[in-house]
């Protein structure tokens, strides 16, 4: 078995090294998704070896716990970087532009977990509809019971409400870009440039810094709340499902995440190529430099 890149060790080391933040989180992310990839294989083989008649929870539960801890580790690392540099976490360089376009406050939209569950469950329902009608169990997400459906629906409603609260908070912060103090200060600095009065530059700079710092703090707080909701929703789904259902859910989650990342990267590369082709003279320049 090949040695897994170890994101925990990497994180521990990286947090002590004075690296540029984006760069290090980027590396952490790559470690993490390669770990996710091997966890996916573990999950798939657990699902394949699952024996419906025998009780193999003793095998499944520890695996599920490891995978959940892996997600927790991701959010711990992300939170650390958010404390250092919240703003750059809103424009993740480690994700493809495709993923970036679908982000909600720096990550996946929490209700995505419910939709993922409904979609995966739906596929398994259709595959074994005959069994289900006869009252047989399918041993997967096709088996969602009335009580589970009810709890998922409640979770969905709560999650939508919490999403809305955070979306409103984000809206508030976005609107506050044009609040009085921002406008006043931008005018003061512009006047100074215009008049070349050579007034107290450092005073305004201080004001600008403190204002932007406070905005940064609010964004940081928002990122923490959004990440908390993401992890909370993931755990709540797992809480509702049986171990084997959880395994199928986690497989679907990992597959979607990994493939979307790959597809996005591929598209980015294609776009870069076509732009590169149009600017043959600049072909040695980075895409970003060309398009600026």
């Amino acid at each position: 078995m090949s040695v897994r890149p170890n994101s925990t060790a990497f994180m521990a080391q990286a947090m002590h090294v004075d690296n540029p933040h984006r760069e290090t989180f980027h590396k952490f992310f790559e470690c993490w998704i390669s770990e996710q990839n091997s966890y996916l294989e573990d999950l798939v083989s657990a699902a394949n070896n699952h024996n419906q008649t025998g009780n193999d929870d003793a095998v499944l539960v520890p695996l599920i716990e490891r995978v959940i801890r892996h997600y927790e580790q991701y959010y711990r690392a992300k939170s650390n970087w958010e404390n250092r540099d919240a703003v750059s976490m809103f424009s993740p360089t480690w994700r493809s532009k495709l993923e970036d376009a679908f982000l909600w406050i720096g990550g996946w939209r929490p209700t995505l977990a419910i939709h993922l569950l409904y979609s995966k469950s739906g596929i398994q329902v259709e595959a074994k509809l005959g069994d289900l009608i006869r009252g047989l169990t399918t041993g997967d997400l096709g088996d969602l019971t009335p009580n589970q459906i009810k709890r998922i629906d409640e979770l969905q409603k709560n999650t939508i409400n919490e999403e809305r609260v955070l979306s409103e908070k984000l809206a508030k912060e976005q609107e506050a870009v044009a609040d009085s103090s921002m406008v006043e200060l931008s005018n003061a600095v512009s006047e100074m440039i215009r008049n070349e009065t050579g007034g107290d530059d450092s005073e305004n700079e201080k004001k600008v810094d403190s204002m932007l710092d406070s905005k940064n703090n609010k964004l940081e707080e928002l990122l923490h709340m959004a990440d908390d909701l993401r992890l909370k929703t993931l755990k709540a789904v797992v809480e509702i499902l049986t171990p084997i259902q959880t395994v199928y859910f986690l497989i679907a989650a990992a597959e979607l995440h990994l493939r979307l990342h790959e597809w996005g990267k591929k598209r980015d590369a294609n776009v870069a190529e076509s732009i590169g082709g149009a600017h043959t003279n600049d072909s040695n320049l980075h895409v970003h430099d060309v398009t600026v």
């Binding site: 289900l132 939508i160 171990p243």
Partner: protein
């Protein structure tokens, strides 16, 4: 809101298993769990026509169970509200009381219902199930059951109001009927009163919780479909406004008891145009290019093109009737009548195997009756799961009513 509840008939063996919170084992169990908060137990001695000609009593108890709130169940005067704690099978939640022989025809309601938000961000569907919601005042007093599915648009408040009020209005209308029942007239009047109630209410009430609050002051752009089934011992009366639907499964055949009110239905198109309205194709046929159904409760701004008058069908019940399915278009858009019917009837028949006797006195009838509610509930959930599997993008509401007799 996911409402899930069911009606049970039979010697009371109500399960009221409370799931252990967090425990893996508890979660893993194949769940037949209904966490019952309240249990409305009605007990009455019902006189059955005996084979040997003598009048013999058989005790029938009806238990209506519901999650979270007790208010979805209309409690008639002979019902008691009993709070039930966690308890095992067959030991709790019963009360019995003897009624006189004057109760001649009492058939209990056996049903399952599921309402989920599904792939929408707002829940605008509402469902009302009111077993034994009223009795006819005629000579042969009949016990009537009420089932309603309401699919709101614009906001949920019209659908919610229908859920709260419609059965009360129908009850009043039925009780005001002095001579022979004219169901069509009764139901048309009921829908008309419901619509007026909505108009008055939205002109006066403060709706602090409404999403529509900011849209228009009068909430004129809000409405709801309504499909209502009143089940009597002899017939099924279905009244429909809009594109929710009631389907009867009779001997394996799906018989629609309502016809969707779509703006491009030839007779509806004609009616709309005669009233001076137009149907414009804008993402499907829409009245004035706005509403994709031709009848609804509410929607004042589209009157008189969109009307609250229901089409009413009265169907005589037969021994071959299996079940009645009421659902919003979240189901019907992706599941055909035939498929829904065969799924539901197979769910019902797969539960026919009588459970082993649990205590002296439980007989076959009881066992089947008891499993019937679970069968209905399983059927409604399976239909909901099928709708989600087939990528329904809407709220999904499904009610399955068991119509089999002599279980």
């Amino acid at each position: 809101m996911a409402g899930m509840c069911c009606g049970v008939v039979g010697e009371t063996k109500t399960q009221s298993t409370v799931e252990p919170s967090g425990g893996r084992q508890g979660r893993r169990r194949r769940m037949e769990i209904q966490q019952l908060k309240f249990l409305a137990a009605a007990a009455s001695d019902v006189v059955m026509p005996p084979p040997d000609g003598s009048r013999k009593r058989r005790k029938v108890e009806s238990i209506e169970t519901i999650e979270n709130t007790g208010d979805d169940i209309a409690l008639s005067s002979d019902m008691k509200l009993v709070e039930v704690g966690p308890c095992g099978r067959g030991a709790c939640g019963t009360s019995s009381e003897t009624l006189g022989d004057d109760v001649l025809d009492m058939e209990n309601s056996r049903f399952g219902l599921t309402v989920v938000c599904g792939r929408r961000r707002d829940l605008e569907d509402a469902v009302a199930v009111k077993p034994s919601f009223c009795r006819t005042s005629s000579r042969s007093s009949e016990d009537l059951h009420f089932y309603g599915v309401y699919d709101g648009h614009g906001c949920s408040h019209v659908a919610m109001k229908c859920k709260d009020r419609m059965h009360e209005i129908v009850k009043e209308e039925v009780e005001n009927c002095e001579k022979s029942m004219d169901w069509k007239e009764t139901m048309v009047n009921s829908f008309s009163r419901m619509d007026k109630d909505i108009t008055e209410w939205s002109n006066s009430a403060s709706r602090s919780n409404c999403r529509c609050e900011l849209q228009t002051p009068q909430c004129d752009a809000v409405g709801s479909t309504a499909v209502v089934a009143v089940v009597t011992p002899e017939r099924i009366v279905v009244s429909n406004c809009g594109d929710s639907r009631a389907v009867l499964c009779r001997n394996g055949v799906a018989i629609p008891l309502s016809v969707d009110h779509k703006p491009d239905r030839p007779d509806e198109l004609e009616r709309i145009e005669e009233a001076g309205g137009r149907v414009i194709y804008w993402d499907g046929a829409r009245v004035l290019g706005v509403l994709a159904m031709s009848r609804a409760i509410g929607d004042n701004y589209l009157k008189p093109y969109v009307i609250p008058e229901p089409e009413v069908t009265v169907t005589e019940r037969t021994a071959e009737d299996e079940c009645l399915i009421l659902a919003s278009d979240g189901l019907w858009d992706v599941v055909s009548n035939d498929v829904a019917c065969s799924v539901a009837r197979m769910c019902l028949s797969s539960h026919e195997v009588p459970s082993p006797p649990r205590s002296p006195g439980s007989d076959l009838n009881v066992a089947r009756g008891e499993s019937s509610d679970k069968a209905c509930s399983d059927a409604s959930v399976l239909l909901t799961k099928l709708a989600l599997a087939r990528r329904s993008t809407d709220n999904v509401s499904v009610v399955v009513v068991d119509l089999r007799r002599n279980l």
